[in-house]
Symmetry: C2
Subunit: 269 residues, 2 copies
DNA sequence: CGTCCGGTTGAAACATGTCAAAGAAGGTGG
DNA sequence: CCACCTTCTTTGACATGTTTCAACCGGACG
């Protein structure tokens, strides 16, 4: 069972309807209070954000600290640069970006976040977030109060280790982006970006070959260190070469292998 | 008391001589065994890598797990991409780089590391290092077995929190590099780089205005996503404009303020 | 003393950015 | 449900910044 975007239907309780109807805010808030304790143990995507080796007792303890935030509408901020660290967040459904703002107004998209991914670790160092996190579509996130996570992870080694791994993976991801920004040309960057998305969709049970971009060309460009026109041209180029079929924000990868080969073979820069 | 590079003399026991004389390797190794237990508590730079709130007991426990590695010669690897995670490392003296290698041989320098900075966190996620760490000058590092650190940090909240902060700061640093690579032009990048070095030297008690670069133009270029010729030209440009005086690898910043202004005011890219 | 490595500089090539115009998509309110 | 408005996207022509290629310099080192 899949939706219009080729996403497998994920059941996540009565929250589903919140994205589809427009309840008055008042009702919504009341329901949320009830929802605050929604259990990780019954979450359909918990294998994405929780350690495999977590036993029943550990799960229960975690359930006790994890809250569900009010669903975010497209364009809403999850947190803003400068705001104090309260919690880390795990994406339950939806799609977010985080972006760093330079003093002079330049924006650099630092990452895109999808189901099962964790946000907010940038704030642990200084106690303040250094980037904005913004929903690119209506999204639903779990909130993990940071202090309680730290405390709990002292008692549950598996959780502790898992948390370290998540932070470390953020670091390695960043290194990958640096490699991309520092040494690839435009088409390579876009190919790498598409392949990365493809792989992330695939590991969540979506099609690796057909997906919808949730972000604009400008946001892709910002992430890849390019202008939106360059992104647009690169897409056209890929399409002309029969690598992908682009129709607005829907992408179909026609030749995954050639897309892979493109990286590292189109220049020696 | 300063050395030829304007660095304050750091006393760190009998190890000092290892950098200055050339003992037979055999003798060296024997001495190292004795040195393995060199105490953090007596380390002159421990305020750089250890939490402020660590009490005497905590320090002693940490001393028990931290080893001193054999000093690295210039050009030696601390670890290589692909090697299994054993330990994290704190730079005691010296200067290292970490670099990611792309399949096709392209190298991207992901960071430079100086006294008090921690390396190796990239490996926690997968259990393997994803980058090479190479000494750019003779260096001396402390080795912190990762498993033991994880265990110890469960018992010492201050240590745990400190470790999280260090990882988080690595993430925010990476975001800064992404901003730089993604949205700055060549001269801005170099200015940002120099200012960053300046500030790091300053916080270690060295001069913020005069310092020696430990890396080549090519390594700077790789870090900044530019070619070595571009770095060279940018240095010449800065010199012509009276911003810095460059003589080989020695840098003197003549106009810190104008260097700062340069970032964000030379383009709107 | 010659060689090698790192650095500098110039000229030309090239990739990407900039500016502009026009078209398509998507959301909003009547 | 349509019309309008805004935002996003595409494409072209041109400008610009950075790379590429090549020559040369100077210091370090055997």
């Amino acid at each position: 069972m899949q939706d219009a975007y080729g996403r497998p239907a994920v059941s996540y309780g009565i929250f589903t309807q919140f994205n589809e109807c427009s309840m008055p805010a008042q009702t919504l808030r009341q329901l949320n209070v009830v929802q605050l304790r929604t259990a990780c143990s019954s979450c359909s995507v918990h294998e994405l954000c929780l350690p495999a080796g977590l036993d029943q007792h550990g799960l229960e303890q975690l359930d006790r600290i994890v809250n569900r935030k009010r669903p975010l509408k497209r364009g809403e901020y999850l947190y803003r640069a400068g705001s104090a660290l309260q919690s880390l967040y795990a994406v339950r459904t939806g799609f977010l970006k985080s972006s760093v703002l330079h003093d002079d107004g330049r924006e650099q998209v630092a990452g895109f976040h999808m189901t099962g991914e964790m946000l907010g670790m940038d704030a642990i160092g200084s106690g303040k977030h250094i980037c904005d996190a913004i929903a690119l579509e209506d999204s639903d996130v779990c909130e993990i109060p940071y202090n309680e996570l730290e405390q709990l992870s002292r008692n549950i080694p598996a959780l502790q280790h898992h948390f370290h791994r998540i932070m470390s993976r953020e670091i390695t991801r960043d290194y990958g982006v640096m490699l991309l920004l520092g040494s690839m040309r435009a088409e390579e960057r876009l190919a790498a970006f598409l392949l990365n998305l493809s792989q992330r969709f695939a590991s969540r049970g979506y099609s690796p070959l057909r997906f919808h971009l949730r972000m604009t060309r400008e946001e892709i460009g910002s992430y890849l260190g390019l202008k939106l026109e360059t992104i647009s041209r690169a897409f056209s180029q890929f399409q002309n070469e029969g690598l992908v079929t682009v129709r607005n924000k829907s992408i179909e990868i026609s030749d995954l292998e050639r897309l892979r080969l493109l990286i590292g073979h189109c220049s020696e820069r």
